[in-house]
Amino acid sequence: MSLRTRDGLGGKAAIVGIGATEFSKDSGRSELRLAVEAVRAALDDAGLSPADVDGMVTFTMDTNPEITVAQAAGIGELSFFSRVHYGGGAACATIQQAALAVATGVAEVVVCYRAFNERSGRRFGSGVQRREPSAEGAALGWSLPFGLLTPASWVAMAAQRYLHTYGLTADAFGPVAVTDRKYAATNPAAYFHGKPITLADHAASRWIVEPLRLLDCCQETDGGQAIVVTSVERARDLPHPPAVITAAAQGAGRAQEQMTGFYRGDLSGLPEMSVVAQQLWRTSGLAPSEVDVGILYDHFTPFVLMQLEEFGFCEPGEATGFVAEERLPLNTHGGQLGEAYLHGMNGVAEAVRQIRGTSVNQIPGAAHTLVTAGTGVPTSGLILGSDG
C-alpha cells in the first residue's frame, strides 16, 4: 500500500532515451507519423534499436495504438502494453507503468509516447459542447448547459476561489508566466524562443476566462514526444547517464472529478497532487529543499502555485512570492506556456536533460528533479535522480 508505506519501485528503472518531433502549430503530417518519429528519435537517443523494445505505454487519449506505432516503427513482439487515463494526468504515470513492467521483469525496454495535432487538429481549448451519457460524460454534463465549456473555465473556477481564499488578485499568476517565458526565451525548441515577457505584459493580456488571462494559458501544440525506460543495470551500458526513477506515483483524491472538482473541499488546493506528493517524498526519502529543479505541469498558471503548496515548497497562499523570488528553478524548458503543450511529456524530457546535464538552461549539479503531470485530474509525478 504505497499510500501508507514506502513502495518498492524506487531506483529500479531509469529513463535512457528521449526524443521529440519539432513543436509547431501545424505539423503537416499525421499524429501516427509524429508518434513514430518521436519513438525512433528516443530509441536513437538511447542507443537502442526497435528490436530491443518489448513494451509500449501511452495515454488513453492518444489516437495512436501501441500496436500501430510498433508496426510502423519496426518494433516486433510486445509483452507489455498499457494506457493511462485522465488526459495530461497520465504523463508521469506512463513512466511509472514502464518502470513497474521493467522492475517486475514483464518487459525489458518500454517506450512511452504521446503525439497529437492538438493545435491544427482537435483543439482542447475550443471546448466541449456535448458528451455521451456515460458516467464520464454525465460528470462533465453538470457544467455544460451553463456555458462552462473549456479547460480554462474549469481551472478558472478553482483559481477564482484560490484568489478569494488568500486575498489575491489575478496578478498573482504573473510570476509563473514570466518564469516560464524567461526559460523559453533561451530554448531554441520553444515556441516562444526569444520572446520573454514582463509582469506588465501578463497583466495587460486579454481575458480568456476570468481570472485567467491569455498569458496564463499554455501553447496548443502539434508534436510528439517519446521516452525510453529500462532497468538501471542496462541503463549503465547505454550512451547517456541514466535518469534514475527515484520515485513514481499516481494520485486521485477522495470524490475526485476530472477537471470539475467543484463539489468537495475548499477548491484552493489540489488534493490529488497531495496524494502524489506524499508518496514521492516517502519513497525517495527526499525533502522539498533537496529538489534541484521542478518541472510542474502548467497548462494554466494557477495550478503551478497550488502544486508548490501541495508539495510543501511553501505555505498555502504563498506560492506567488516563492516563484517571484525564484527560490526553485522551475520549468527550465519554458514549460507548456513557453515551450509546447505536449500533455506534460516534454516536461519529463526536460527533467531527464537536467539530470544528464544537457538542458539549454542547465542548473549546475542538478541531481534531483521533480516532474508532475496534469492537474485538476487524477494525476502522477516522478522524482528523477542521477545514478549513484
Binding site: 466541449v128 459542447q129 454525465a138 457544467s143 455544460l144 448547459p145 473556477m157 476561489r161
Partner: protein, 492 residues
Amino acid sequence: MSSDSTVRGAASDAGRDMAYNAVRDIPYDDLKAFEGRAAAEAGIGKDLVNVPMIRHWCEAMGDTHPAYAGADPIAPPTMMQAWTMGGLSGHEGRSDAYDELFGLLDGAGYTSVVATDCEQEYVRALRPGDEISFDAVIESVSERKTTKLGTGHFVTTRMDIRAGGELAGTHRFRILKYAPARRKPKGKRPRPVINRDNAGFWEGVAAHRLLIQRCGGCGELRFPWLPGCNACGSPEWDTIEASGEGTVYSYVVMHHPPFPAFDPPYAVGLIELAEGVRIVSNVIGVPYDKVRVGLPVRLEFQRVDEELELPLFRALGGGPPFTSGGEPFGSGGEPSVGGGEPCAGGGALVEGGPGGALRVGEELPALEIPITRILIVAGAIASRDYQDVHHDAELAKAKGSPDIFMNILTTNGLIGRYITDRFGPTAVLRTVAIRLGAPNYPGDTMVLSGTVEAVDNGPDGVTAMVKVVGTNGIGKHVTGTVAVTLPPGGTA
C-alpha cells in the same frame, strides 16, 4: 479607405459566423464632402411641447419624477430629441445634403441604420407651450468600419434645439448606416447529459424542484447525482428538495472562445446551496462583472429554449452589496437606503435633499429593467420613432436583426429615469452622453448601474459626473456619462 479584402479581414475578426451582404465601395472623398453641410435647416417641431406627450413618455419609461407632472411640469430633458422627430408622416426640414448622403449610402448597399451614440446637453428646461425649432449639421462621416452588426459608415450630426428662439439644448447623434451581417441563427445551449443515474434530477427540474440525493445509509447529502454514497458506500438513497437559497462559492467570466448559444462575456457561478452541496449554474439579475464570491442568490427555473429549462440563480437585492464601507451618500445624517446592506432595487440615494456627502467612487444601487416587447414599442412610439426595427419583428429580421430592439431614445430616457430616481426629486440632468453596444431584445433584462466619478461644488449646487453602464444578457447595452446637479436648498 478600405479595400474589399480589408473588409473581409475585419469581418473574420468580428465573428467567424458572419458573412456580409454585397456592398459597393464609396470613395471616401465623396463621403467626406458632406462634412460641414447642413443636415436640417430651420426645422420646426411638429407639436408644441405638451403635457400628453410628456405623460406618454413618462409612462413608457416608468419615470415618476415629480418635476414632469403636476400643475407646472417640465419635459424630461432626455425627451429633447423626441420634439424634433418627424414621426409617422416623416421628416420636414431635412436638408438636401442629408437626403443625398443617405441616398448614396443606401445605393451602395448600406441600407440599415442604427443609432450608436447620443450626447445631449440641456441648457434650459422645456415646458408645455414651447415652440421647438432646430438646425443640424453633418459633423463627420467615417471611413468604412466593420462592427458586429455589419459593415458601414458612421454619420455624426450635431443639432441645436431652440425653444421660442432661445437655445434649449444641443444634441450630437451618431448613427451607423450599414449592410447587415448575415448571422447564423443563435445556437442552443449544450444539453444536459442525462442517463439512468441522474435522470431523477432533471425530472425534478421539469417539475421545478431542485432535488438533492440523500444517502439512505448515513444521511449524507450529495451532488452530483451518483448511485452510491462516497461517505459510506451505501447504494440506498432518496431525495430532498433544495430550499433554493444559496451563495456564490466561486465564479468565472467567460470571454473566449465564443460558443453559439452564449454571448461573451458571461458569468458562470458555482453555487453553494443552503443545504451544503454545490452546483454549477448561471447567476442572473446582476451584470457579469458584478458577480462575487459570497453573493446571496435564490433558485429560479428559467426556460432557455423550447426543450430546456434550467435551474438558475438570481442575485438577491437587485444589485451587488455596497463596498465602500459606510452609508451611501445621503443628506446630512438622514438615514438613506443601503447602509452597507445589499440594496433594494428601487431605493433613492437621496431621500430628502441635496447630497452634501456625494463621494467619488460611490456606487449607485442597480436598477433592473425587464426588456419587454411593450416597453420597446411604447418607448419607440413615445419618442416618435417609427423605424420598423423597433416594432415589427418580421421586418427587423429581414434587416438582419433577430428581433425588434430598443431604440436609443428609450435607452436615453431610461438612463435619465435611473439617475433622477437615484438622486431624488430635486435632481436636474445637465448632460447625458451614451454609447450603445449589445442591443436590448425582448425577453432580456437590463441592469443599470452607476458610479460617481467626479463631484463638483458650484454655485448651482453639487454636480456629479456619473458613469452609467447597462448590461443585458448578451453584454453591455449602454455605457455613458451623466452630469446631474442637486441644487442648493433642497426641495424642487
